[in-house]
């Protein structure tokens, strides 16, 4: 193509568009340029300009280009097909957005509707968002669209597939598609064979920060070990022993130590156990930090607490130690007992429920701004069938049931001015926190039945609040896209964690209190360092809003449940998904690990509680990581359906009894 043609094309274009001034300017410049004898133009550019000169056909070009690319990708060799298909989605949404940006709204709509089904399965949420974009101004306004247009999508692809794609785009001269691929996609070309289909899930993310950033963040070091000198650790081994021998011959009192010694002498470790046990007694009574160096039973490394931890009162410590000694060992063979608390007559008003660690208190947050607390030990006296074991001596005494004058079975807490979205009990059951749509968090005393503090800091509804495992500190998650760390004695937050691209929907403390995990509507889970407030991990893989999180007691793993009913198990250290657990058909509202971490319980809107085998899931995925799909099935141990009662909350007691709560719903 020679220069004159190009000029003609440019002039034609300007005429068509009605750029008279530019046309004149161009002509003038040309004349002056002709004298100097201008350098030659790149033929490719010329072609491009020529192509775009017939502006009428822009929408058709997109439509045709995409549709050709699509059929080419679908008809390519199976080996490369899935990699090439990955390219289609970014191209699709950018075609759509380009069309919108150029003002071809009608055509954009038609284009969108014609091809959306291809991507419905993987990206239905994104499509729902984009569907509403109807004018160039919406593109500017909508954060999601803006971030898409500002950043490049990275797509992992192997060398062959990449070459194939480029060759195709060149050969067919589909400049529009080439332009989009060039402008919007960042290929991560890997040499060698195409990757397997199974790791499709994390191949790309369209969210602004994408994989590169996440990879970068995920390289930071984290110390996921447990706290030094935790009560559990002190008693874990000794406690196990005792329960074992308990089973053998009923009750072993402290006085029977001699006998116990004889028996365990065979075991080899017996002597040290006894020593440890004695030491524990001492430790327990003095409350002093002197741990026997001998063992870290769960194999988890130990870390120092970064926060100043509250001191545990002696009597509380005693009762916890007692609980730990009486803990039932759970495994895939010995499933837990589940006590279910059903809320009836809620009139669709129950927003959240939580259960204290010993199961004696149940709190419900309602959409009429009220917070109601039931003392199950009392109910048990009336009905005689409550499974509460009186695990905790701290259960409230008789003298506080003042609000029950009208024959109410619960204590009513009023104070919020909007629906209560979350409640949490302090580890020892003496405090209760509630978060509400009125953007406040309130601290209540279950002993005084009174509101103690109102924490104001968030600007929008607070979706979730969680006490730390040691009490005193708590974390909150809000619609304002931040998560905050608070301590009970200050009305201002200690840390603000900002970084999520959408609402922070749920929050959970790490077992060692040094980290907090947050799940968000941007479909990522992030882990934050409490001390520095930095984001130290980004977990990408969910395809919808994350609703609940749980941390394994050994601090190594985290489970997250989403809106589609998918649960993912993450390795905190590597930031990778160890195994997706598929089985629920609707939102997973709650997750809870058993105390020794061998089982995971999940409660869902499909009115079931499922018990998953954690140890097996982890083992399986380590040995045969590649056969993802097939091994999934093995991990669900048991499905326990309820009578049309979605499961809102789950809580393993320290004795490994599982408590669950939910509201009975009428079947419409």
């Amino acid at each position: 193509m020679d220069e004159e043609e190009v000029e003609k094309a440019v002039l034609a274009y300007l005429k068509k568009k009605g750029f008279k001034q530019t046309e004149l300017a161009l002509q003038e410049e040309q004349q002056s340029r002709n004298k100097i004898n201008s350098p030659s133009t790149d033929p490719d550019i010329a072609k491009h300009i020529l192509a775009s000169s017939d502006a009428e056909n822009v929408p058709a070009q997109y439509q045709e280009g995409y549709s050709k690319l699509r059929s080419w990708a679908y008809s390519s060799l199976d080996l490369y097909k899935h990699e090439l298909l990955r390219v289609l989605y970014p191209v699709f949404i950018h075609c759509f957005m380009d069309l919108v940006a150029k003002g071809h709204i009608q055509e954009a709509r038609a284009f969108f509707n014609r091809f959306r089904e291809d991507h419905e399965m993987m990206h239905s949420r994104d499509l729902q968002k984009l569907e509403g974009v109807l004018s160039p101004s919406h593109l500017e306004e909508m954060e999601f669209a803006r971030s898409l247009r500002q950043s490049k999508v990275s797509v992992k692809i192997c060398q062959y597939s990449y070459d194939l794609l480029i060759q195709y785009l060149h050969k067919t001269q589909s400049i529009t598609m080439l332009g989009i691929v060039n402008e919007r996609i960042n290929f991560q070309v890997s040499p060698g064979q195409p990757s397997s289909i199974s790791d499709d899930a994390d191949v790309f993310t369209l969210v602004g920060s994408g994989h590169d950033a996440a990879d970068l963040v995920n390289q930071k070091e984290i110390h996921w070990g447990l706290l030094e000198d935790s009560l559990e650790e002190r008693l874990e081994k000794a406690g196990d022993r005792i329960t074992d021998s308990d089973k053998a011959d009923g009750e072993v009192k402290d006085g029977d130590l001699e006998e116990n010694k004889k028996r365990s002498a065979d075991g080899g470790k017996g002597g040290s156990t006894q020593k440890k046990l004695k030491k524990d007694k001492v430790v327990a009574t003095t409350g002093k930090a002197s741990r026997s160096e001998s063992s870290t039973t769960s194999g988890a490394p130990r870390v120092k607490p970064e926060l100043t931890l509250p001191i545990i009162p002696t009597e509380v410590e005693h009762s916890i130690l007692e609980d730990l000694r009486n803990r039932v060992q759970l495994s895939s063979m010995t499933l837990p007992s589940i006590s279910f608390y059903t809320f009836i007559n809620t009139h669709n008003g129950l927003n959240c429920a939580s259960i204290s660690h010993d199961g004696s208190l149940v709190a419900g947050g309602f959409s009429d701004s009220s917070l109601k607390v039931w003392d199950m030990a009392k109910l048990g006296q009336q009905t005689g069938n409550t499974p509460s074991q009186g695990e905790n001596e701290l259960a409230p005494n008789e003298n506080i049931l003042n609000a029950n004058a009208k024959g109410r079975s619960y204590t009513l807490f009023r104070g919020h001015s909007g629906p209560v979205y979350s409640t949490t009990f302090s580890p020892y059951g003496d405090f209760l926190l509630s978060s509400s749509s009125d953007s406040t968090i309130r601290l209540w005393s279950t002993k005084l039945n009174a509101n103690l503090v109102c924490y104001k800091g968030h600007n929008y509804p607070v979706w979730d609040v969680q006490f730390s495992p040691v009490g005193h500190y708590f974390a909150s998650a809000s619609h304002d896209r931040t998560a905050r760390i608070w301590s009970m004695d200050r009305i201002q937050p200690l840390r603000i964690m900002a970084g999520h691209l959408s609402d922070v929907d749920c929050v959970q403390w790490h077992a060692n209190c040094n980290y907090v995990a947050t799940g968000s509507s941007d479909r990522t889970v992030r882990l934050w360092d409490v001390q520095s407030g930095e984001c130290v991990r980004i977990f990408i893989g969910h395809r919808s809003m994350i609703l609940c999180l749980a941390m394994s007691p050994d601090g190594r793993y985290m489970a997250s449940g989403d809106e589609d009913g998918k649960i993912m198990m993450w390795d905190l250290a590597s930031g990778r998904c160890v195994s997706p657990l598929v089985g629920h058909s609707s939102c997973v509202w709650s997750l809870s690990f058993s105390c020794e971490g061998s089982l995971l319980a999940s409660g869902s809107a499909d009115s079931t509680v499922k018990i998953w085998d954690v140890t097996k899931s982890l083992k399986v995925s380590k040995t045969e990581e590649n056969k993802n799909g097939k091994t999934n099935r093995l991990r669900s141990l048991k499905t326990l359906p309820t009578k049309s009662t979605p499961v809102y909350a789950l809580q393993f007691s320290r004795r490994n009894l599982l408590f669950a709560a939910g509201a009975l719903t009428k079947i419409a």
Binding site: I105, Q106, R109, Q128, G132, L134, S135, H138, S332, L335, P336, S337, I338, S339, F340, Y341, T342, I344, N345, H347, N348, G349, N351, V362, G364, S367, W374, M376, L379, G380, N385, P387, S388, R408, S409, Y410, S437, W463, H479, S521, M545, E563, S586, W589, A605, I611, K616, R633, L634, S636, L637, K638, T639, L640, P641, T642, K643, P646, A660, A661
Partner: protein, 390 residues
């Protein structure tokens, strides 16, 4: 181009007193309205999730509007999901019923009962992983279903066993056509020559084994539904007969499904029309069929013949059963061989004949048909005894 039509915008504008809206503005507003509505709905869905619900309610939309500092839409506050009704004559048009209520009625109506207060009740959802059968838990049938689907089973030693899921049975197109053709012939044209050929094909074709479960099901289904269609029953029995003749198919696993239908055709109270159809023939035929089944598979299933004879004897010895049933039972027993007759029929012959005698006499049994039946039964008894002597 937006799902909100321009006309809607125009109407709304007019309703608030703006009449001079320029036509260019309409589509712009329409598309913006759609965008905003979608945005609000996405926020509303978030609120719904945080209220632990899976149905969107008006309250959620209100909360979403609240998040944007927009005044809520009044008049829809109700905890329950809205009940939409389908407009008559339209497939995809829904509306909320809004009845006119007389003020007087509302005022004069007695106060409604106060709604029940929220309560919490506790029960055991599971005890050591097993769900107790208590009213608070779903009924056992419901419980059983998911556990059947449970794809894992644990052996004693704890090694997970992967139970194979039911395999989808794939039938070739040809076999499907063949099956359809045969069933159609059986049902509608069992007297044609073609049906005879079909029976021959069934008895000899070596490739029809995949169809055996379908045929057994077909027979069982048709017999149970069409006890009064004599010709169909006969055709079905002939079909079974042919299947049994076929040396290439392996019918044993399906016998237990087949036998009830066959026994029905032998000793059922009514087979087809009592007067017009010659159900005796059918019973004779079926008796032979039963005998051949017992002979062929008796050594594989040791309890097959005892069970058949027990059923037949039961029919034979029950005086309350109709005479055709007795006939079928006697025929069935007789075809099973002299030994059976000697052991089971002869000892009962004396009392039975005493029972039968009044039925055969003209003066005692006035009903012509009954008398005829009795004579036939008598004949059958005689034949049975005759085969003893031979």
């Amino acid at each position: 181009m937006s799902i909100v039509p321009k006309e809607t915008i125009e109407v709304i504008a007019q309703s608030i007193g703006i009449t001079n809206l320029s036509p260019d503005v309409l589509p712009a507003i329409a598309s913006d309205v759609e965008y905003r509505v979608r945005e609000i709905m996405q926020e509303a869905i978030k609120c719904m999730r945080h209220s632990r619900r899976t149905t969107l309610t008006a309250v959620d939309v209100d909360s979403a509007l609240g998040l944007r500092n927009v005044e809520p839409v009044y008049g829809f506050a109700s905890g329950d999901p809205l009940r939409f009704k389908r407009a008559a004559g339209h497939k995809d048009l829904f509306y909320i019923e809004d009845k006119d209520v007389e003020f007087k009625e509302v005022i004069e109506a007695p106060l409604p009962k106060a709604p029940l207060d929220t309560e919490v009740v506790a029960h055991w959802l599971a005890i050591e992983g097993v769900q107790p059968a208590i009213p608070e838990n779903p009924p056992p049938e419901v419980l059983a279903v998911p556990s059947d689907n449970g794809k894992t089973a644990y052996k004693e030693d704890g090694i997970p066993v992967d139970i194979k899921l039911p395999v989808k049975h794939v039938l070739s197109r040809e076999l499907q056509l063949y099956f359809e053709k045969i069933t159609e012939l059986t049902v509608s044209r069992s007297d044609s020559a073609l049906f005879k050929e079909a029976l021959v094909s069934l008895a000899t074709d070596s490739g029809i084994h995949p169809l055996v479960p379908y045929f057994t099901f077909f027979v069982a289904d048709e017999v149970s539904r069409n006890l009064n269609k004599f010709s169909l029953l006969f055709a079905l029995m002939r079909l079974v007969w042919s299947l049994l003749q076929n040396p290439h198919i392996h019918i044993e696993p399906y016998l237990h499904q087949l036998m009830p239908s066959v026994m029905t055709c032998l000793v059922a109270k009514r087979l087809g029309n009592k007067f017009s159809d010659n159900h005796w023939d059918l019973r004779n035929f079926t008796a032979n069929l039963v005998a051949s089944i017992c002979k062929r598979f008796g050594h594989v299933y040791h309890n097959l013949q005892p069970r058949v004879t027990r059923t037949l004897l039961h029919a034979f010895l029950d005086p309350s059963k109709a005479l055709p049933q007795h006939y079928g039972a006697i025929q069935g027993l007789a075809t099973l061989g002299p030994n059976v007759v000697r052991l089971l029929v002869l000892p009962n012959l004396d009392p039975y004949l005493r029972l039968l005698e009044p039925e055969m006499q003209l003066e005692k049994q006035k009903n012509e048909v009954k008398r005829h039946e009795a004579w036939l039964v008598y004949g059958a008894v005689q034949l049975a005894c005759a085969c003893m002597i031979v």
